[in-house]
C-alpha cells in the first residue's frame, strides 16, 4: 500500500464484510506527531480463535486462497515507524481496529487521499453500512457522517455520480485546514 488512506479503504472493507451498519473511521494526529488510526464497526465481531489468526498473513476467511494480507500489511507499516496495531473484538458486538504510527519516522507513509477513500466507500456501498469520518490534529477537527448525506438526499441513492463528486469535494475541503493536504 502506498499510503495510509489505502490501508483504511482496505480495512474498512473488512467491516463491510462483517455486516456492519455503521463504520467509524478516525484519524488523529497529536502535537508529538503520533498518528492514531481507528476503524470501529458494529459488525458480527470475531471469536477469540479467529482474532488470533487475523494477524497472520496465512489467516483468512476467504475460500479462494490461503492468504489474507490486509491486516499484516498495515501492521508492518505501523511497526516500521515504531508504532503497532491492536484489535478488540466481541462476537455480536463489533470490532475496533487501532493502528498507531509515529509521524516523525522516515518510514511513516503519507496520509494520501482520505477524502477519496471515504467517498469511495460510501459510493460503493450505497445501501449501507454508513460511514463516519472523524479527524483531528492540533490545527482543528472535522466530522463527516454519511447518514446526514443520506437524510438530505431523501430517496436519491448515494452512488449517484453527482453525489460522489459532492462528497469528495466536501470532505477534501474540510480536511485541508486540519492536515494541510498532508498529515503532518
Amino acid at each position: 500500500m502506498r499510503d495510509l488512506s489505502l490501508h483504511i479503504l482496505d480495512l474498512a472493507e473488512n467491516s463491510v464484510r462483517a455486516r456492519a451498519t455503521l463504520v467509524r473511521i478516525g484519524v488523529k494526529a497529536d502535537e508529538k506527531r503520533l498518528i492514531t488510526l481507528t476503524i470501529a464497526d458494529d459488525g458480527c465481531g470475531m471469536s477469540p480463535e479467529l482474532l488470533r489468526t487475523v494477524m497472520s498473513p496465512f489467516g483468512t476467511t476467504r475460500t479462494t486462497r490461503k492468504v489474507g494480507l490486509g491486516i499484516p500489511l498495515m501492521a508492518q507499516n505501523a511497526r516500521l515507524t515504531g508504532g503497532d496495531i491492536a484489535i478488540e473484538s466481541q462476537e455480536g458486538k463489533g470490532t475496533t481496529f487501532t493502528a498507531t504510527l509515529h509521524g516523525d519516522s522516515i518510514d511513516c507513509l503519507p496520509l494520501g487521499d482520505l477524502a477519496g477513500t471515504v467517498a469511495s466507500l460510501v459510493t460503493l456501498h450505497p445501501d449501507g453500512p454508513d460511514f463516519v469520518l472523524e479527524c483531528s490534529s492540533p490545527k482543528g477537527s472535522m466530522c463527516f457522517d454519511s447518514r446526514e448525506v443520506r437524510a438530505a438526499l431523501g430517496g436519491v441513492p448515494l452512488n449517484e455520480p453527482e453525489v460522489a463528486a459532492w462528497m469528495l469535494d466536501s470532505i477534501r475541503e474540510e480536511l485541508e485546514p486540519i492536515f494541510g493536504g498532508v498529515i503532518l
Partner: protein, 125 residues
C-alpha cells in the same frame, strides 16, 4: 463552503431520472471494479474515481459503478468488468485513470470495447 443545501439541489435534479431508470432495467450498464487488498494496492481506487468523474462529466444516466472482491488474478489488477445489456462481459486489466477516458468514450458510450486493454490482449503477450 460545501453545504448540505447543495445536496437538496442534487436531489431535485436527479430524483426524476432515477425513477425513470428503475423502470427500465434493460438499458443499465454496469462497471464492476476489483477492490480487494490486491486491487486497492494496485491502484483500483483512482480508477474507480476516474470512472465516477467521467460518468458525472458526461452526464451518463444509466451507468452504475460497483465493486467485487479478489477473483484470484491479482497480477492483472486493477481489473474492471464492463457489462453492456445483451452483450458478453468485457474484462479490462492493468487499468489506470488515464485509460478510463477511452473505455468510457469507446465502450460505454459507443459500444465498441477497447480491445487492447482487455484480458484477452494481456494474455496473448
Amino acid at each position: 463552503m460545501k453545504s448540505l443545501a447543495e445536496l437538496e439541489a442534487i436531489r431535485q435534479r436527479t430524483l426524476e431520472r432515477i425513477n425513470l431508470r428503475r423502470e427500465d432495467e434493460s438499458t443499465n450498464i454496469r462497471v464492476v471494479i476489483g477492490m480487494a487488498t490486491c486491487g486497492i494496492a494496485a491502484g483500483a481506487r483512482p480508477v474507480m474515481m476516474a470512472f465516477m468523474d467521467e460518468i458525472n462529466k458526461r452526464g451518463l444516466k444509466e451507468v452504475t459503478v460497483s465493486q467485487t472482491g479478489c477473483i484470484g488474478m491479482c497480477r492483472l489488477e486493477p481489473m474492471v468488468d464492463v457489462y453492456l445489456p445483451g452483450k458478453e462481459k468485457v474484462t479490462y486489466v492493468h487499468m489506470t485513470p488515464e485509460k478510463v477516458g477511452r473505455v468510457v468514450a469507446e465502450h460505454i458510450v459507443n459500444g465498441r470495447p477497447v480491445t487492447e486493454y482487455t484480458i484477452g490482449a494481456a494474455e496473448d503477450k
